[in-house]
């Protein structure tokens, strides 16, 4: 589904991605492992167009998406849940979810002037909303509350829920468990496995590599901007180098 081919990216003169190639197939969870500063976040940023790539190419099915700006990639079915959640803190939970569906109504700029109640009654929007409220009942209870006043875990749920509102086929997640209690981390990972079983394709960055590999189908290991190891989760869990460098300690 997603194919990154020899992508190179830099911040100014500092090259951060060096000919990175990676594939995510339909219905897979693929996890990206690497030390701090390896370039994992940059890779996700490049995929959605936040950080443009200097060379190489990025494909979604048969369509080249490198060079597209972030607001365009969402419309193509890639939803990105960035590091730090980035919810709209001073808006309500419901407004955050509504905005998650923005790409569903923005094809025609003028149609965004319509009454939002009508938009929320559209069958596809309605069913997405039902889906996220079923996944996260707490968001249904808190829909009128200010998003910034939710707990860290609830904010992460909202970030995932908002991303699901755009009817994505693929989710990119950057350390969704950062700062969460261990049992919440498990909940989030279990949720991702469930989403995969429902047909979503997932590319996941996770500090707790062992936990991520448990739910993932495949994984890539990044070091200083390069992919150094790739393989199925089982292979990586049995790889001495990986075990030593990334599975010894767990954080989160």
């Amino acid at each position: 589904m997603l194919r990154v081919e020899k992508a190179t990216a830099a911040y100014g003169r500092v090259t951060v991605l060096r000919e990175v190639s990676l594939t995510v197939n339909d219905g897979e969870i693929v996890t990206l492992i690497g030390a701090n500063g390896a370039g994992k976040t940059t890779l996700l940023n490049s995929i959605v167009g936040v950080v443009p790539i200097k060379s190489g190419s990025i494909w979604l099915d048969d369509r080249q998406i490198s060079g597209l700006q972030p607001h365009r990639t969402v419309g193509l079915g890639i939803s990105y849940i960035p590091e730090g959640r980035q919810i709209f803190g001073s808006m309500s939970v419901m407004d955050n979810l509504t905005l998650g569906a923005y790409s569903q109504c923005s094809r025609n700029h003028l149609s965004t002037l319509g009454y939002i109640g009508w938009f929320l009654r559209r069958p596809d929007v309605r069913s997405n909303l039902d889906m996220v409220f079923n996944l996260f009942p707490v968001l249904r209870e808190r829909q009128r509350q200010q998003a910034g006043s939710l707990s860290g875990g609830e904010q992460q749920m909202l970030a995932i829920a908002r991303a699901l509102m755009s009817s994505p086929r693929m989710l990119l997640l950057d350390e969704p468990s950062l700062g969460l209690a261990p049992n919440l981390v498990k909940d989030i990972l279990r949720l991702l496995a469930r989403l995969r079983d429902e047909g979503f394709t997932i590319l996941l960055i996770e500090q707790d590599a062992a936990a991520a590999l448990k739910i993932a189908d495949r994984g890539y290991v990044m070091e200083r901007g390069r992919i150094v190891i790739e393989g199925s989760s089982r292979e990586l869990l049995g790889n001495d180098e990986v075990v030593q460098a990334y599975l010894g300690k767990t954080r989160g």
Binding site: V48, V50, Q69, P70, H71, R72, V74, G75, S79, Y80, P82, Q86, I87, F88, G89, S90, M91, D95, T98, L99, G100, Y102, S103, C105, S106, H109, T112, L113, G114, Y115, I116, G117, F119, R162, S166
Partner: protein, 285 residues
């Protein structure tokens, strides 16, 4: 001052302040979405006034139609200003963009002065009877309700808000920051022009009228910290009332000449409190 006089002045102050609030909201909306302080905001006010006069007196349209078309025309100018001057300068810093708006302001004023002359134009007739102040207050209230509905009940309004909270997160849900910037310029132009149109029965339209009204709107927006729409409206109305009261108290022979000084005074107070608050925050951290 008799009680009747006081009430009259209060009403005229609130009305004048409503115009400042409309102009100020233009500053606030553009600033929150783009971080640009748009120094051409006053020119939208002037265009609203001058176009209203031209469409009514020279073209001979019925007054309501003239006002409506004048506001639409000024809105188009706001949109074009964004497309021609701001959008092409994509890599420019915010400071350069602000300077561009200063240039645009001079340009618009110059063009209007060249084409339609530098003389005061005769004021429009009152919208009805002799109660233009009430018309101004009423129209402003309607505009504010509409604005509130726009920001709370439409996707576009929410997208503008999202863009002002976190532009990157907004882009990740599919919001194009540039189309939001475009919208904010058009909206700001419309608000300014409405202010200019409703005040023309009381102030003669003139190619330089945007300077003072723009400044007053700037002060209103400064009270709202350029972020808060409510703060901007409160700032505008307070400024309007303060000015009306100074004129009426009539201190010394030049009292009404001091009217425009009030805006400066309010601005200084805002800056003073803001900087002392900033200093306190610095000390605390």
């Amino acid at each position: 001052m008799s009680p009747e006089q006081f009430v009259d002045n209060l009403i005229s102050g609130v009305a004048q302040g409503s115009v400042y609030a409309l102009v100020g909201l233009g500053f606030t909306i553009i600033y929150t979405v783009t971080r640009i302080i748009n120094f051409a905001q006053g020119e939208f006010v002037m265009l609203g006034g001058v176009f209203s006069f031209l469409l009514f007196s020279s073209v001979g349209l019925p007054l309501p139609l003239a006002l409506l078309l004048a506001v639409l025309a000024a809105t188009v100018v706001g949109a074009v200003l964004y497309l021609l001057a701001i959008r092409p300068a994509r890599q420019a810093s915010v400071i350069s963009l602000i300077i561009i708006t200063i240039g645009a302001s001079t340009f618009i004023r110059g063009v209007v002065g060249q084409i339609w002359g530098k003389d005061y134009m005769p004021p429009l007739p009152h919208f009805s009877g002799d109660n233009q102040w009430l018309w101004i207050i009423g129209i402003t209230l309607v505009v504010m309700v509409a604005l509130h509905l726009f920001f709370s009940r439409t996707m576009m309004g929410k997208a503008l808000k999202a863009c002002s909270i976190n532009r990157q997160a907004a882009s990740l849900v599919g919001i194009d920051a540039r189309s939001m910037a475009f919208t904010s310029f058009a909206l700001a132009a419309a608000l300014g022009a409405i202010g200019g149109a409703v005040i023309t029965p009381l102030t003669a339209p003139h190619f330089r009228m945007g300077l003072t009204l723009g400044l007053k709107g700037f002060v209103a927006a400064a009270v709202g910290d350029f972020r808060s729409q409510v703060g901007t409206v409160v700032g505008g109305v307070i400024l309007g009332i303060a000015e009306a009261m100074v004129v009426v108290l009539d201190w010394g022979p030049f009292a009404s000449a001091y009217k425009d000084v009030i805006a400066m005074l309010v601005l200084l107070l805002v800056l003073f409190f803001r900087s002392s608050r900033g200093a306190a925050q610095e000390a605390a951290s």
